[in-house]
Protein backbone atom coordinates (compact mmCIF):
# COMPACT_ATOMS: atom_id res chain seq x y z
CA UNK A 1 0.00 0.00 0.00
CA UNK A 2 2.79 2.39 0.92
CA UNK A 3 4.26 1.87 -2.54
CA UNK A 4 1.16 3.51 -4.04
CA UNK A 5 1.27 6.33 -1.51
CA UNK A 6 4.95 6.92 -2.26
CA UNK A 7 4.29 6.83 -6.00
CA UNK A 8 1.49 9.39 -5.70
CA UNK A 9 3.62 11.64 -3.49
CA UNK A 10 6.43 11.40 -6.03
CA UNK A 11 4.11 12.58 -8.80
CA UNK A 12 3.73 15.88 -7.00
CA UNK A 13 7.41 16.14 -6.10
CA UNK A 14 8.71 15.75 -9.63
CA UNK A 15 6.28 18.09 -11.36
CA UNK A 16 8.58 19.30 -14.15
CA UNK A 17 9.56 15.86 -15.35
CA UNK A 18 6.05 14.46 -14.99
CA UNK A 19 4.47 17.38 -16.86
CA UNK A 20 6.94 16.87 -19.73
CA UNK A 21 6.17 13.16 -19.80
CA UNK A 22 2.45 13.95 -19.59
CA UNK A 23 2.56 16.39 -22.51
CA UNK A 24 4.33 13.82 -24.68
CA UNK A 25 1.89 11.09 -23.73
CA UNK A 26 -1.08 13.39 -24.21
CA UNK A 27 0.12 14.32 -27.72
CA UNK A 28 0.65 10.65 -28.60
CA UNK A 29 -2.75 9.59 -27.23
CA UNK A 30 -4.70 12.46 -28.84
CA UNK A 31 -3.00 11.79 -32.19
CA UNK A 32 -3.65 8.08 -31.85
CA UNK A 33 -7.33 8.76 -31.06
CA UNK A 34 -7.67 10.85 -34.23
CA UNK A 35 -5.83 8.31 -36.38
CA UNK A 36 -7.56 5.26 -34.97
CA UNK A 37 -11.02 6.86 -35.07
CA UNK A 38 -10.55 7.74 -38.74
CA UNK A 39 -9.11 4.31 -39.49
CA UNK A 40 -11.98 2.49 -37.81
CA UNK A 41 -14.65 4.72 -39.37
CA UNK A 42 -13.21 4.27 -42.88
CA UNK A 43 -12.80 0.57 -42.28
CA UNK A 44 -16.47 0.32 -41.40
CA UNK A 45 -17.47 2.41 -44.45
CA UNK A 46 -15.34 0.22 -46.74
CA UNK A 47 -16.75 -2.96 -45.25
CA UNK A 48 -20.35 -1.75 -45.62
CA UNK A 49 -19.67 -0.61 -49.19
CA UNK A 50 -18.04 -3.94 -50.01
CA UNK A 51 -21.04 -5.88 -48.71
CA UNK A 52 -23.43 -3.56 -50.52
CA UNK A 53 -21.46 -3.73 -53.78
CA UNK A 54 -21.11 -7.51 -53.62
CA UNK A 55 -24.88 -7.87 -53.43
CA UNK A 56 -25.51 -5.59 -56.47
CA UNK A 57 -25.66 -7.76 -59.60
CA UNK A 58 -26.09 -6.63 -63.19
CA UNK A 59 -26.37 -8.43 -66.50
CA UNK A 60 -25.22 -7.33 -69.93
CA UNK A 61 -24.66 -8.79 -73.39
CA UNK A 62 -21.07 -9.97 -73.82
CA UNK A 63 -19.07 -7.96 -76.31
CA UNK A 64 -18.38 -9.65 -79.57
CA UNK A 65 -14.83 -10.09 -80.77
CA UNK A 66 -15.71 -8.48 -84.01
CA UNK A 67 -16.60 -4.78 -83.85
CA UNK A 68 -16.47 -4.64 -80.08
CA UNK A 69 -20.19 -3.79 -79.66
CA UNK A 70 -23.43 -5.46 -78.63
CA UNK A 71 -24.78 -5.85 -82.14
CA UNK A 72 -26.11 -9.30 -82.77
CA UNK A 73 -26.46 -10.26 -79.11
CA UNK A 74 -29.57 -12.05 -77.91
CA UNK A 75 -32.25 -9.90 -76.31
CA UNK A 76 -33.67 -9.97 -72.80
CA UNK A 77 -37.26 -8.84 -72.51
CA UNK A 78 -39.10 -7.14 -69.68
CA UNK A 79 -40.86 -10.44 -69.03
CA UNK A 80 -37.49 -12.16 -68.74
CA UNK A 81 -36.37 -9.56 -66.22
CA UNK A 82 -39.51 -10.04 -64.12
CA UNK A 83 -39.00 -13.79 -64.23
CA UNK A 84 -35.38 -13.39 -63.08
CA UNK A 85 -36.51 -11.01 -60.36
CA UNK A 86 -38.90 -13.60 -58.96
CA UNK A 87 -36.17 -15.31 -56.91
CA UNK A 88 -35.65 -16.28 -53.30
CA UNK A 89 -32.02 -15.22 -53.63
CA UNK A 90 -32.95 -11.57 -54.01
CA UNK A 91 -33.82 -8.91 -51.52
CA UNK A 92 -34.87 -6.46 -54.25
CA UNK A 93 -34.58 -5.46 -57.88
CA UNK A 94 -34.44 -2.25 -59.89
CA UNK A 95 -35.57 -2.99 -63.43
CA UNK A 96 -34.22 -0.70 -66.10
CA UNK A 97 -36.79 0.42 -68.64
CA UNK A 98 -36.18 3.00 -71.34
CA UNK A 99 -38.06 4.04 -74.48
CA UNK A 100 -40.70 1.40 -73.81
CA UNK A 101 -38.09 -1.41 -73.87
CA UNK A 102 -36.57 -3.43 -71.13
CA UNK A 103 -32.96 -2.52 -70.53
CA UNK A 104 -31.28 -5.55 -69.02
CA UNK A 105 -27.96 -3.83 -68.68
CA UNK A 106 -29.54 -1.09 -66.57
CA UNK A 107 -31.26 -3.52 -64.25
CA UNK A 108 -29.77 -4.11 -60.80
CA UNK A 109 -30.53 -7.24 -58.78
CA UNK A 110 -29.89 -7.06 -55.02
CA UNK A 111 -28.80 -10.41 -53.58
CA UNK A 112 -29.64 -11.34 -50.03
CA UNK A 113 -25.94 -12.03 -49.50
CA UNK A 114 -22.85 -11.85 -51.75
CA UNK A 115 -22.21 -15.63 -51.82
CA UNK A 116 -25.55 -16.28 -53.55
CA UNK A 117 -24.17 -14.92 -56.84
CA UNK A 118 -23.44 -18.27 -58.50
CA UNK A 119 -26.70 -19.85 -57.38
CA UNK A 120 -28.62 -16.82 -58.70
CA UNK A 121 -26.74 -16.91 -62.02
CA UNK A 122 -27.51 -20.62 -62.41
CA UNK A 123 -31.17 -19.89 -61.69
CA UNK A 124 -31.27 -17.09 -64.28
CA UNK A 125 -29.65 -19.36 -66.89
CA UNK A 126 -32.31 -21.96 -66.16
CA UNK A 127 -34.99 -19.28 -66.57
CA UNK A 128 -33.64 -18.33 -69.97
CA UNK A 129 -30.77 -15.85 -69.57
CA UNK A 130 -28.91 -16.28 -72.87
CA UNK A 131 -25.35 -17.66 -72.75
CA UNK A 132 -24.04 -14.53 -74.49
CA UNK A 133 -25.20 -12.38 -71.55
CA UNK A 134 -22.78 -12.01 -68.65
CA UNK A 135 -23.61 -11.65 -64.95
CA UNK A 136 -21.25 -9.18 -63.30
CA UNK A 137 -20.51 -6.79 -60.47
CA UNK A 138 -19.63 -3.23 -61.43
CA UNK A 139 -16.11 -3.18 -60.01
CA UNK A 140 -15.04 0.08 -61.60
CA UNK A 141 -17.88 1.99 -59.89
CA UNK A 142 -16.93 0.33 -56.64
CA UNK A 143 -13.27 1.34 -57.07
CA UNK A 144 -14.27 4.92 -57.86
CA UNK A 145 -16.48 5.08 -54.80
CA UNK A 146 -14.03 3.48 -52.43
CA UNK A 147 -10.75 5.08 -53.57
CA UNK A 148 -10.93 8.31 -51.50
CA UNK A 149 -11.97 6.35 -48.42
CA UNK A 150 -9.07 3.94 -48.84
CA UNK A 151 -6.79 6.90 -49.34
CA UNK A 152 -7.96 8.43 -46.05
CA UNK A 153 -7.59 5.06 -44.34
CA UNK A 154 -4.01 4.69 -45.61
CA UNK A 155 -3.13 8.16 -44.33
CA UNK A 156 -4.65 7.46 -40.90
CA UNK A 157 -2.88 4.09 -40.64
CA UNK A 158 0.51 5.56 -41.60
CA UNK A 159 -0.06 8.42 -39.15
CA UNK A 160 -1.01 5.97 -36.39
CA UNK A 161 2.12 3.85 -36.94
CA UNK A 162 4.38 6.92 -37.03
CA UNK A 163 2.78 8.38 -33.89
CA UNK A 164 3.08 5.12 -31.97
CA UNK A 165 6.70 4.51 -33.00
CA UNK A 166 7.71 8.11 -32.38
CA UNK A 167 5.80 8.15 -29.09
CA UNK A 168 7.42 4.91 -27.95
CA UNK A 169 10.90 6.22 -28.83
CA UNK A 170 10.33 9.52 -26.99
CA UNK A 171 8.80 7.80 -23.98
CA UNK A 172 11.70 5.36 -23.72
CA UNK A 173 14.17 8.24 -24.00
CA UNK A 174 12.36 10.23 -21.30
CA UNK A 175 12.18 7.14 -19.13
CA UNK A 176 15.92 6.52 -19.47
CA UNK A 177 16.66 10.16 -18.60
CA UNK A 178 14.24 9.99 -15.65
CA UNK A 179 15.88 6.83 -14.32
CA UNK A 180 19.32 8.45 -14.58
CA UNK A 181 17.99 11.40 -12.58
CA UNK A 182 16.36 9.10 -10.09
CA UNK A 183 19.28 6.75 -9.71
CA UNK A 184 20.18 8.29 -6.35
CA UNK A 185 16.60 8.02 -5.08
CA UNK A 186 16.54 4.36 -6.13
CA UNK A 187 19.86 3.82 -4.34
CA UNK A 188 18.46 5.36 -1.13
CA UNK A 189 15.28 3.30 -1.27
CA UNK A 190 17.24 0.11 -1.89
CA UNK A 191 19.69 0.95 0.91
CA UNK A 192 16.72 1.35 3.28
CA UNK A 193 15.75 -2.19 2.36
CA UNK A 194 13.09 -1.63 -0.30
CA UNK A 195 12.92 -4.64 -2.61
CA UNK A 196 13.66 -4.24 -6.31
CA UNK A 197 10.16 -5.29 -7.30
CA UNK A 198 8.64 -2.63 -5.05
CA UNK A 199 10.87 0.06 -6.53
CA UNK A 200 9.78 -1.10 -9.99
CA UNK A 201 6.12 -1.15 -8.93
CA UNK A 202 6.47 2.37 -7.57
CA UNK A 203 7.89 3.68 -10.87
CA UNK A 204 5.26 1.77 -12.83
CA UNK A 205 2.39 3.16 -10.75
CA UNK A 206 3.69 6.68 -11.39
CA UNK A 207 3.76 6.05 -15.14
CA UNK A 208 0.32 4.41 -15.12
CA UNK A 209 -1.25 7.33 -13.24
CA UNK A 210 0.27 9.81 -15.72
CA UNK A 211 -0.86 7.57 -18.60
CA UNK A 212 -4.41 7.40 -17.29
CA UNK A 213 -4.70 11.17 -16.82
CA UNK A 214 -3.29 11.71 -20.32
CA UNK A 215 -5.66 9.05 -21.66
CA UNK A 216 -8.70 10.94 -20.34
CA UNK A 217 -7.56 14.29 -21.77
CA UNK A 218 -6.24 12.65 -24.95
CA UNK A 219 -9.58 10.94 -25.59
CA UNK A 220 -11.51 14.19 -25.11
CA UNK A 221 -9.25 16.33 -27.31
CA UNK A 222 -8.77 13.56 -29.89
CA UNK A 223 -12.52 13.07 -30.22
CA UNK A 224 -13.12 16.80 -30.65
CA UNK A 225 -10.41 17.04 -33.33
CA UNK A 226 -11.21 13.81 -35.21
CA UNK A 227 -13.94 15.26 -37.43
CA UNK A 228 -12.13 18.47 -38.45
CA UNK A 229 -8.98 16.48 -39.25
CA UNK A 230 -10.93 13.86 -41.21
CA UNK A 231 -12.75 16.69 -43.02
CA UNK A 232 -9.44 18.28 -44.01
CA UNK A 233 -8.10 14.99 -45.35
CA UNK A 234 -11.32 13.83 -47.05
CA UNK A 235 -11.27 14.20 -50.85
CA UNK A 236 -14.50 12.34 -51.59
CA UNK A 237 -18.02 13.67 -52.04
CA UNK A 238 -20.22 14.65 -49.13
CA UNK A 239 -18.80 14.47 -45.63
CA UNK A 240 -17.42 11.76 -43.47
CA UNK A 241 -18.56 11.35 -39.88
CA UNK A 242 -16.04 10.12 -37.37
CA UNK A 243 -17.19 9.01 -33.94
CA UNK A 244 -15.17 7.43 -31.15
CA UNK A 245 -16.63 4.12 -30.13
CA UNK A 246 -15.96 2.03 -27.05
CA UNK A 247 -13.75 -0.41 -28.93
CA UNK A 248 -11.53 2.39 -30.25
CA UNK A 249 -11.26 3.85 -26.74
CA UNK A 250 -10.26 0.44 -25.39
CA UNK A 251 -7.72 0.03 -28.19
CA UNK A 252 -6.20 3.40 -27.27
CA UNK A 253 -6.18 2.51 -23.58
CA UNK A 254 -4.50 -0.82 -24.41
CA UNK A 255 -1.90 0.89 -26.59
CA UNK A 256 -1.24 3.52 -23.89
CA UNK A 257 -0.80 0.90 -21.20
CA UNK A 258 1.46 -1.07 -23.54
CA UNK A 259 3.52 2.05 -24.13
CA UNK A 260 3.72 2.70 -20.38
CA UNK A 261 4.71 -0.91 -19.78
CA UNK A 262 7.41 -0.80 -22.46
CA UNK A 263 8.89 2.31 -20.85
CA UNK A 264 8.47 0.63 -17.46
CA UNK A 265 10.36 -2.39 -18.77
CA UNK A 266 13.23 -0.12 -19.78
CA UNK A 267 13.29 1.22 -16.23
CA UNK A 268 13.23 -2.29 -14.81
CA UNK A 269 16.13 -3.40 -16.98
CA UNK A 270 18.18 -0.44 -15.77
CA UNK A 271 17.20 -0.73 -12.11
CA UNK A 272 18.19 -4.36 -11.90
CA UNK A 273 21.70 -3.35 -12.88
CA UNK A 274 22.07 -1.04 -9.89
CA UNK A 275 23.35 -2.22 -6.54
CA UNK A 276 22.55 0.37 -3.85
CA UNK A 277 26.10 0.53 -2.58
CA UNK A 278 27.43 1.37 -6.05
CA UNK A 279 24.87 4.13 -6.59
CA UNK A 280 25.53 5.69 -3.20
CA UNK A 281 29.32 5.46 -3.50
CA UNK A 282 29.09 7.07 -6.95
CA UNK A 283 27.01 9.88 -5.48
CA UNK A 284 28.99 10.37 -2.29
Amino acid sequence: MYVFEHALLNLGKNKGRNILLGIMLFAVIASAVIALSIFNATDSIIENARIEFNTMIQIRPQRRQMGGNDNGASTVTLEDLHRFADSDYLSGVQIGVGGGFARGNETVFYLRSPELLYAFEAEMREKGLPDDWAVFRDESSYRRMIAPIENLQDISLTFLIVVMLFGAAIMILLSVIAIRERKYEIGVLRAMGMKKNKVVLCLWVETIVITFVCFVFGIIVGTVLSNPVAGALWTGEGQINIALNGITALQILGASLLLATITGAVSVSRITKYEPIKILMERN
Binding site: A191, M192, M194
Partner: protein, 225 residues
Protein backbone atom coordinates in the same frame (compact mmCIF):
# COMPACT_ATOMS: atom_id res chain seq x y z
CA UNK B 1 27.28 -13.60 23.02
CA UNK B 2 27.89 -11.71 19.81
CA UNK B 3 25.00 -10.44 17.73
CA UNK B 4 27.17 -9.51 14.77
CA UNK B 5 30.48 -11.15 13.91
CA UNK B 6 33.17 -10.91 11.29
CA UNK B 7 34.87 -14.23 10.63
CA UNK B 8 38.13 -14.20 8.64
CA UNK B 9 36.80 -11.37 6.52
CA UNK B 10 38.91 -10.23 3.60
CA UNK B 11 37.76 -7.46 1.31
CA UNK B 12 39.04 -6.07 -1.94
CA UNK B 13 37.31 -3.92 -4.50
CA UNK B 14 36.06 -5.49 -7.70
CA UNK B 15 38.87 -5.72 -10.24
CA UNK B 16 41.52 -4.82 -7.67
CA UNK B 17 44.14 -7.22 -6.32
CA UNK B 18 44.84 -5.16 -3.19
CA UNK B 19 43.15 -6.19 0.03
CA UNK B 20 41.50 -3.37 1.98
CA UNK B 21 41.65 -5.63 5.00
CA UNK B 22 42.49 -9.30 5.46
CA UNK B 23 41.35 -12.06 7.82
CA UNK B 24 39.48 -9.75 10.15
CA UNK B 25 37.75 -11.33 13.15
CA UNK B 26 35.51 -9.19 15.33
CA UNK B 27 32.52 -9.74 17.57
CA UNK B 28 29.90 -7.14 18.37
CA UNK B 29 27.59 -7.63 21.32
CA UNK B 30 24.24 -6.16 22.27
CA UNK B 31 24.26 -3.52 24.95
CA UNK B 32 27.58 -1.99 23.88
CA UNK B 33 28.80 1.00 21.92
CA UNK B 34 31.72 0.28 19.57
CA UNK B 35 33.76 2.92 17.83
CA UNK B 36 36.04 2.29 14.88
CA UNK B 37 38.76 4.82 14.27
CA UNK B 38 41.43 5.13 11.64
CA UNK B 39 42.86 7.37 8.97
CA UNK B 40 40.76 8.48 6.02
CA UNK B 41 40.78 5.84 3.31
CA UNK B 42 41.73 3.10 5.78
CA UNK B 43 38.56 1.15 4.94
CA UNK B 44 36.32 2.08 7.89
CA UNK B 45 33.32 2.93 5.73
CA UNK B 46 33.89 -0.23 3.68
CA UNK B 47 33.72 -2.22 6.90
CA UNK B 48 30.54 -0.42 7.84
CA UNK B 49 29.01 -1.27 4.44
CA UNK B 50 29.71 -4.95 5.16
CA UNK B 51 28.11 -4.66 8.60
CA UNK B 52 25.12 -2.81 7.12
CA UNK B 53 24.55 -5.58 4.56
CA UNK B 54 25.18 -3.23 1.67
CA UNK B 55 28.19 -5.17 0.45
CA UNK B 56 29.57 -8.68 0.86
CA UNK B 57 33.02 -9.86 1.89
CA UNK B 58 35.43 -11.15 -0.75
CA UNK B 59 36.35 -13.97 1.63
CA UNK B 60 35.08 -15.00 5.03
CA UNK B 61 31.67 -14.17 6.44
CA UNK B 62 29.70 -11.54 8.31
CA UNK B 63 27.06 -13.15 10.50
CA UNK B 64 24.05 -11.63 12.21
CA UNK B 65 22.54 -13.79 14.96
CA UNK B 66 24.66 -16.65 13.53
CA UNK B 67 23.23 -16.24 10.04
CA UNK B 68 25.57 -15.41 7.18
CA UNK B 69 24.55 -12.05 5.75
CA UNK B 70 25.68 -13.10 2.28
CA UNK B 71 23.10 -15.89 2.34
CA UNK B 72 20.24 -14.12 4.08
CA UNK B 73 17.74 -11.61 2.69
CA UNK B 74 19.79 -8.45 3.04
CA UNK B 75 16.87 -6.19 2.07
CA UNK B 76 15.02 -7.53 5.07
CA UNK B 77 18.12 -7.21 7.25
CA UNK B 78 18.55 -3.55 6.29
CA UNK B 79 14.84 -2.84 6.62
CA UNK B 80 14.26 -4.53 9.97
CA UNK B 81 17.44 -5.39 11.86
CA UNK B 82 19.89 -2.62 11.07
CA UNK B 83 19.56 1.15 11.35
CA UNK B 84 22.10 2.78 9.09
CA UNK B 85 23.38 6.35 9.35
CA UNK B 86 25.39 7.07 6.23
CA UNK B 87 28.24 9.54 6.09
CA UNK B 88 26.57 11.04 2.99
CA UNK B 89 23.22 10.91 4.86
CA UNK B 90 21.40 9.56 1.80
CA UNK B 91 18.08 11.22 2.46
CA UNK B 92 15.43 11.75 -0.21
CA UNK B 93 16.17 15.41 -0.83
CA UNK B 94 12.90 16.35 -2.54
CA UNK B 95 10.86 14.91 0.33
CA UNK B 96 10.22 16.36 3.78
CA UNK B 97 11.89 15.08 6.93
CA UNK B 98 8.57 13.50 7.92
CA UNK B 99 8.16 11.77 4.54
CA UNK B 100 11.69 10.34 4.74
CA UNK B 101 11.06 8.79 8.11
CA UNK B 102 7.52 7.56 7.46
CA UNK B 103 8.72 5.93 4.24
CA UNK B 104 11.52 4.22 6.13
CA UNK B 105 8.97 2.90 8.65
CA UNK B 106 6.77 1.68 5.82
CA UNK B 107 9.65 -0.15 4.14
CA UNK B 108 10.49 -1.74 7.48
CA UNK B 109 6.89 -2.82 7.99
CA UNK B 110 6.44 -0.86 11.22
CA UNK B 111 2.89 -1.55 12.33
CA UNK B 112 2.52 1.67 14.35
CA UNK B 113 -0.87 3.20 13.55
CA UNK B 114 0.11 6.81 13.85
CA UNK B 115 3.49 6.86 12.15
CA UNK B 116 3.48 10.63 11.86
CA UNK B 117 3.08 11.07 15.61
CA UNK B 118 5.95 8.66 16.22
CA UNK B 119 8.03 10.53 13.65
CA UNK B 120 7.41 13.92 15.27
CA UNK B 121 8.42 12.45 18.61
CA UNK B 122 11.62 10.94 17.13
CA UNK B 123 12.51 14.20 15.42
CA UNK B 124 11.90 16.14 18.61
CA UNK B 125 14.28 13.73 20.37
CA UNK B 126 17.06 14.67 17.95
CA UNK B 127 16.20 18.38 18.12
CA UNK B 128 14.07 18.93 15.02
CA UNK B 129 10.97 21.06 15.59
CA UNK B 130 7.53 20.29 14.12
CA UNK B 131 7.86 23.22 11.77
CA UNK B 132 11.19 21.98 10.40
CA UNK B 133 9.89 18.42 10.19
CA UNK B 134 7.58 19.47 7.38
CA UNK B 135 10.33 21.18 5.39
CA UNK B 136 11.99 19.52 2.43
CA UNK B 137 15.41 18.12 3.24
CA UNK B 138 17.12 20.64 0.97
CA UNK B 139 15.65 23.44 3.08
CA UNK B 140 17.36 22.14 6.22
CA UNK B 141 20.92 22.88 7.32
CA UNK B 142 23.63 20.17 7.21
CA UNK B 143 23.33 19.56 10.95
CA UNK B 144 19.53 19.31 10.74
CA UNK B 145 19.79 16.88 7.84
CA UNK B 146 22.19 14.77 9.89
CA UNK B 147 19.69 14.67 12.74
CA UNK B 148 16.93 13.59 10.36
CA UNK B 149 19.21 10.80 9.12
CA UNK B 150 19.75 9.68 12.72
CA UNK B 151 16.01 9.75 13.43
CA UNK B 152 15.36 7.75 10.27
CA UNK B 153 17.86 5.07 11.34
CA UNK B 154 16.08 4.71 14.67
CA UNK B 155 12.54 4.83 13.29
CA UNK B 156 12.06 1.08 12.99
CA UNK B 157 13.62 0.37 16.37
CA UNK B 158 16.52 -1.76 15.04
CA UNK B 159 18.64 -4.05 17.19
CA UNK B 160 21.78 -2.84 15.48
CA UNK B 161 22.76 0.76 14.73
CA UNK B 162 25.58 1.33 12.28
CA UNK B 163 26.71 4.95 11.96
CA UNK B 164 29.36 6.55 9.79
CA UNK B 165 30.54 9.88 11.29
CA UNK B 166 27.08 10.60 12.73
CA UNK B 167 28.06 13.81 14.51
CA UNK B 168 30.29 15.30 11.81
CA UNK B 169 28.02 18.26 11.07
CA UNK B 170 26.62 18.87 14.53
CA UNK B 171 27.28 21.67 16.99
CA UNK B 172 28.62 20.68 20.40
CA UNK B 173 25.29 20.84 22.17
CA UNK B 174 23.49 18.72 19.60
CA UNK B 175 26.44 16.33 19.45
CA UNK B 176 26.17 15.78 23.19
CA UNK B 177 22.45 15.06 23.01
CA UNK B 178 22.92 12.65 20.07
CA UNK B 179 25.71 10.83 21.89
CA UNK B 180 23.45 10.51 24.91
CA UNK B 181 20.86 8.88 22.66
CA UNK B 182 23.42 6.40 21.26
CA UNK B 183 24.67 5.62 24.74
CA UNK B 184 21.15 5.11 26.04
CA UNK B 185 20.22 2.90 23.07
CA UNK B 186 23.09 0.55 23.95
CA UNK B 187 23.13 0.73 27.71
CA UNK B 188 19.43 1.14 28.50
CA UNK B 189 17.75 -0.55 25.55
CA UNK B 190 20.36 -3.26 24.93
CA UNK B 191 21.10 -2.43 21.32
CA UNK B 192 24.40 -2.83 19.55
CA UNK B 193 25.77 0.53 18.35
CA UNK B 194 28.75 0.64 15.97
CA UNK B 195 30.13 4.06 15.09
CA UNK B 196 32.90 5.00 12.69
CA UNK B 197 34.35 8.29 13.84
CA UNK B 198 37.26 10.67 14.02
CA UNK B 199 35.80 12.46 17.04
CA UNK B 200 37.36 11.93 20.45
CA UNK B 201 34.06 12.92 22.03
CA UNK B 202 32.35 10.01 20.31
CA UNK B 203 35.03 7.54 21.38
CA UNK B 204 34.42 8.63 24.96
CA UNK B 205 31.02 6.93 25.00
CA UNK B 206 32.45 3.69 23.53
CA UNK B 207 32.63 0.49 25.48
CA UNK B 208 35.15 -0.82 22.96
CA UNK B 209 37.31 1.10 20.55
CA UNK B 210 38.89 -0.49 17.50
CA UNK B 211 41.50 0.98 15.21
CA UNK B 212 42.00 0.16 11.55
CA UNK B 213 45.43 0.72 10.11
CA UNK B 214 46.92 -0.74 6.92
CA UNK B 215 44.23 -3.40 6.72
CA UNK B 216 44.70 -4.59 10.31
CA UNK B 217 42.15 -4.17 13.13
CA UNK B 218 43.39 -3.74 16.67
CA UNK B 219 41.43 -3.19 19.82
CA UNK B 220 42.55 0.05 21.42
CA UNK B 221 42.24 1.56 24.81
CA UNK B 222 40.80 5.05 24.93
CA UNK B 223 43.98 6.67 26.22
CA UNK B 224 45.99 5.11 23.35
CA UNK B 225 44.12 7.06 20.70
Amino acid sequence: MSTLALQNVTYKYEGSSKNIFKDVNMDFEKGKVYTIVGKSGAGKSTLLNLLAGLDTATEGSVTYENENLAEMNRNRYRAKNAGIIFQGLNLLTNATAIDNIVLSMNISGVSERNKKAKTYSLLEKVGISKEKATRKILKLSGGEQQRVAIARALAHDPELIVADEPTGNLDKQTEDSILKIFSSLAHDEGKCVIIVTHSKKVTNIADEMWGLDKGVFRQMTKDKK
